[in-house]
Structures are given as structure tokens and as C-alpha cells.
Amino acid sequence: MGKFRLGRSENVYAWLFLAPALTLLAIFMVYPILWSLWMSFQTGKGVNTQFGGLANIYRLTQDPVFLRALTNTLIFLIIQVPIMIVLAILAAVALNDPKLRGRAFFRTAIFLPCVTSLVAYSVLFKSMFATDGVVNDTLMWLHIISSPIPWLAQPFWAKCLIIIAITWRWTGYNMIFFLAALQNIDRSIYEAARIDGVPAWARFVYLTVPMLKPVILFTTVISTIGTLQLFDEVNNITASGGVGGAPADSTLTLSLYIYNLTFRFMPSLGYAATVSYVIVVLVALLTALQFFVARERK
């Protein structure tokens, strides 16, 4: 095969066309990333900073608030992501059934939460899950509970509330990917399995799930990244007196802690940068792990 070589002038034009985008990327992506890496080695508060080597990393290991934020974030991740992915697959499979009536309505209804405003839905959730909110009232009216659940006041229930909220918001978003993948599967594969006497549960477990594996990997990776950056919900729904992560830091996440370190407390920019690099390392490690688990086995 002959190689097509670009002339010198074509090369220049190509770079000229790319220049605006590259400049923006450099200013708003590359520079902050590199600068924050440099900052993560700085100690001190406000503008009073000096190079501290690995002091910030040592501080991480001694900081109970950081450890709590890390634990909370990992709890959200480990519990919420699998629940959401399973729900999204089940919803997609159910809504892919051509015999289901009102498919378009349900698809839209399940997808809509992810286009609502973060703050608006957070405020609504906060009011719905208040001690005398509509959720407690309904559960009591149905005699499922005898006294109101302290959604916002107790650490356990506050975590549950955050998990419910982000699951509600993001399940439909993930479902769309599964629906798209399901519609690409040749229908006759299922017909062949039906004729061959493969029961419905086995068609789901042995055919649908393996065929969705690339999409499961993709949605797991983006959901992992999203959950590690979880901020809006814990800064709004479980905020108390304007401070997020309540009660008693039980819903404090890494992103919220970075925000607090930077803007709420006396600015500790170097340490905040170190915490954000913890998220970077976690994302890299977890993504690598997920790719490893989902690899094609010989």
C-alpha cells in the first residue's frame, strides 16, 4: 500500500485549524492539571505556601476527615454503582420487549431524571425526605413503618438517601446505553434459543448479559468516575445550615472535602490538590481493574 505524505503547507494548515482547540485545552486543561500537581507538593494556608515535598501525602494518612470522606465515597461507589447498573439492565430489557404497551412513555419517564436540574431535584428530594415529608407520610400510611425514618438526621439513613437520589437520577441515563446495545442484538439469536428450549432466565444470564459486557464495562467505568466525583447531592440534599455532608460528615465525599478545603475553610490549596490527585489515582486504578476483570479470556 502506497503511503500518502502530507506536504509542508498542508501540515501547517492542519496545525492552524487545530490551534484554537489546542490553545483552549492547554489553558483550561493541561495547565491546571500540571499546576495542581505542582500545588499538591505545597503546604501552608492561603497565599502563604512553601514546598513541602510529600508532607501532604503524610497528612492524608493522619487526617480523620479525609479518611471518613474516602470511606464514604467508597461506600457510595460499592453499593450504588452495582445497584444502578443492575436496575438499568433490567429496565432496558423490560423496555426492549416489543409487546410492552407504553414503551415510549416509560423510556422517557426513566430517562427524564438525568436532564433535570441538579439543584432543583436536590431541593425536592430534601423536602420529600424530610421527617414530615411525603415519603415518610406515604410509608406510614401504607403501614410499612410505624414512625418516620430520620432520612436527614441519621448517618445510615442519610447515606441511603444519597444512594436513592443518585440511583434515581442516573439509572435512566445508563439504561439508554443498554437499550441501544440490546437493539443491536440480532433478534433471531433469541428465537434460536427459544426454539432450542433455553428458558427465559438462562437467555438473560447466558446470552443477554455476556453480549452486553462491553456496555456493562463502559457504564461501570463512567459511573465509577461519576460517583468518585459525587458533589452536588451531598452539598444540597444532606446539607445542614449551609454545610454539606451532614449529619456529622456521614455523607462527606472526597469532592465535597476538596471544596471545603478550598473555599469553606481557610484555603489550603496544596492539600486540596493532593486530595484531588487521590481521586485521579482511584479512577485510574478502578478503571484498570474493571478492564482487567472484563478482559477477553483465551
Partner: protein, 357 residues
């Protein structure tokens, strides 16, 4: 092996009837081909036998038992799809053995069945490959293997060769014919390719718009079609149709060919003078020693090597007539010639398109 019986079988989607009452008897071990143009309902009919489409009316029996309400998996059938429908994430071995896992067979038994089918289909070297590493023909063999391991009473094939290239199609056609002999199974095979139908079938069912036009052996349909549709559909190149008018004594006048008169046929002798009919002449009915002739001008000649076909017409605006010139390669386009044929071979159809015998 079981036979299959259809009695007044119908299928409608809402108000639209796509299968309009099909009656058919398929004997055990018979190779039956459903053939017809796109949208004639042949695939729908097959899917109704498979249980993938509900039967709106009438009765389906397999092996003498009513099957209308029986689950596809309990009908004693196996189906091979046009798209192969292989499980993409499983190896050939797993593809063929997958269904058996749910039939309560032990691992050793499954292995035995799979190996047996792989031997019949010469798939042994491919057992550990995944479908994407196979050629189209190999994939189709795996799909057939997946059907064989279940030892069905009836095999259903839905256009199994349509996705293959021409050479492979001929090869797989022969394989399927051989397999039918070896397995001694009842096979129902859907195709739109009349060559496949002619070469494979014991019995061909010609369908059009949800109605069975004719059922018969390939040569019966070829030599003795019931109507214009079957006459035109079976045979390649197509049969030529010439408008004709019955003259005194049953002689046939061809208005498009200078009012040429052909001697009476047994069927035309019974008709009254002035009746409009259609004369059917296969391209291969033209022979140099024929008693009658048409004066034609060649439009185009196709040389296939062993034989040649001339596409010719009478005058400027006449209908194109396909003439087999045998192994003669002398004709060229623009040339006029006398296309001789034996008038006694011609078929006669009435104005409704029905055969006059």
C-alpha cells in the same frame, strides 16, 4: 421422523391477512421447499410452524399432534436462520452444546452429541473457535450442527444460503442435499431462489401473497404449471409470454408478431374463435428444427459458455423474448433471425392467467 400437516392455516396482523388459508401435507422424510417472491408469506408460514408467530386460524399438526398452542421448544423442531443466529460469545462447541444443557443431558452426553454433529459437518478442527473467526459457510454449518444435536423431528431452514456468495451457495446446497440423505429427516426450507428450490426439493410449494399457488415436484412445476405465476416463477431465464387470439379451428394468431398463425394446440381447439389467451414458451423450447418460427431482431446476446441466450424482439417496440440458442454462438446484436420452436411444447393460459390443458 414426523410429517407436518397444515389445515386452513391463517395469519393476520390486525386487519391485514398475510397467510390466507394454507392446506398442506408434508410426508415424513420429505424435503419441502417454500418458494415465492419477497413478501409472499413464506417465512411467516415457516415461523408459524416453528412457533415464533402465533397461528390466527386453522390447525398445525406435527407428527399427527396439534401444535398450535405448543411452545416452540416442545414441537420437535430445530431451525436454521438466514443470519445464522449463533451466540457470538460462545465457541463452536458451546454454541452446539448450549441447548442440551437445558435438556437435562450430562456433560459427557453433550460432548458426545456435539462431537457426532461436528464429525458429520466436518467441524472438528473449528470446535474451539468463536463465530467471528469463521467464514460464512462455516458459520452456517455450525448453525446446522446446533440443529442436528437436538435430533429434531423436523428441520426448518429460513433462507439459509442467502448471506453466502454464489460459489459457497452452490457448495452448501450440495451439502444440505447430502445431509438430508444422511439424516433422513423431514426438512422445510424457505428460499426465494428458484434454483435452490429446483435442486433441493422433493416437493415445492409456490406461494404468492399468502396463498399457495401450486404444490408439486420440481419437474411437475416446470413442465406443467397451473398458472402464469408459477410458469413465470419457476425456470431461469423466465418463460416468455406471448399474447394470442384463437382463430377458426383453434389456430392461434399472434397479433404482436405480424398476425402469424400457429397450428391449433389440443387446448386451443376447444376454445371459441376470438378468445384472448397467452402462449407460454420457455427459452429452451426454441430449437433450430422447430415447426414454427418468429421473426426477431437481437437486442443483446448473453454467452454463458455452454449455452447462449438471445434477448430479441419483433420490430421496434415488441416485447423482449428470451431465446436459448443452445451452443450456437453465431448471433450478434442487431441481427435478424428466425427463432424456430416446436408449437406443441407451448403452454396456453386463459385471460385470468389459469392454465388451459
Amino acid at each position: 421422523m414426523s410429517g407436518v400437516t397444515l389445515r386452513g392455516v391463517r395469519k393476520s396482523y390486525g386487519g391485514l391477512e398475510v397467510i390466507k388459508g394454507v392446506d398442506l401435507d408434508i410426508a415424513p422424510r420429505e424435503f419441502v421447499v417454500f418458494v415465492g417472491p419477497s413478501g409472499c408469506g413464506k417465512s411467516t408460514l415457516l415461523r408459524m410452524i416453528a412457533g415464533l408467530e402465533e397461528i390466527s386460524g386453522g390447525e398445525l399438526q406435527i407428527g399427527g399432534t396439534r401444535m398450535n398452542e405448543v411452545d416452540p421448544s416442545a414441537r420437535g423442531i430445530a431451525m436454521v436462520f438466514q443470519t445464522y443466529a449463533l451466540y457470538p460469545h460462545m465457541t463452536v462447541r458451546e454454541n452446539m452444546g448450549f441447548a442440551l444443557r437445558f435438556a437435562g443431558l450430562s456433560k459427557a452426553e453433550i460432548d458426545k452429541q456435539v462431537m457426532e454433529a461436528a464429525r458429520v459437518l466436518e467441524l472438528e478442527p473449528l470446535l474451539d473457535r468463536k463465530p467471528k473467526a469463521l467464514s460464512g459457510g462455516q458459520r452456517q454449518r455450525v448453525a446446522i450442527g446446533r440443529a442436528i444435536v437436538r435430533h429434531p423431528q423436523v428441520f426448518l431452514f429460513d433462507e439459509p444460503l442467502s448471506n453466502l456468495d454464489a460459489e459457497l451457495r452452490v457448495h452448501m446446497r450440495i451439502e444440505i442435499a447430502r445431509l438430508h440423505k444422511k439424516l433422513n429427516a423431514t426438512i422445510i426450507y424457505v428460499t426465494h431462489d428458484q434454483v435452490e428450490a429446483m435442486t433441493l426439493a422433493d416437493k415445492i410449494v409456490v406461494l404468492r401473497a399468502g396463498v399457495v399457488e401450486q404444490v408439486g415436484s420440481p419437474l411437475t412445476l416446470y413442465d406443467d404449471p397451473d398458472n402464469l405465476f408459477v410458469a413465470g416463477f419457476i425456470g431461469s431465464p423466465k418463460m416468455n409470454f406471448l399474447p394470442a387470439v384463437v382463430d377458426a379451428g383453434g389456430a392461434l394468431r399472434l397479433p404482436d408478431h405480424g398476425d402469424q398463425i400457429l397450428p391449433a394446440l389440443p387446448a386451443s381447439a376447444k376454445l371459441s374463435s376470438g378468445t384472448q389467451v397467452t402462449l407460454g414458451l420457455r427459452p429452451e423450447h426454441f430449437r433450430p428444427d422447430g415447426a414454427a418460427g418468429l421473426r426477431l431482431t437481437v437486442d443483446l446476446v448473453e454467452h454463458l459458455g455452454g449455452e447462449s441466450f438471445a434477448y430479441a424482439r419483433h420490430g421496434e417496440g415488441g416485447e423482449v423474448i428470451t431465446v436459448s440458442t443452445g451452443d450456437s454462438r453465431a448471433l450478434e446484436s442487431g441481427q435478424s433471425f428466425d427463432a424456430r420452436f416446436d408449437p406443441s411444447k407451448a403452454l396456453l393460459f386463459n385471460a385470468q392467467g389459469l392454465r388451459l390443458r
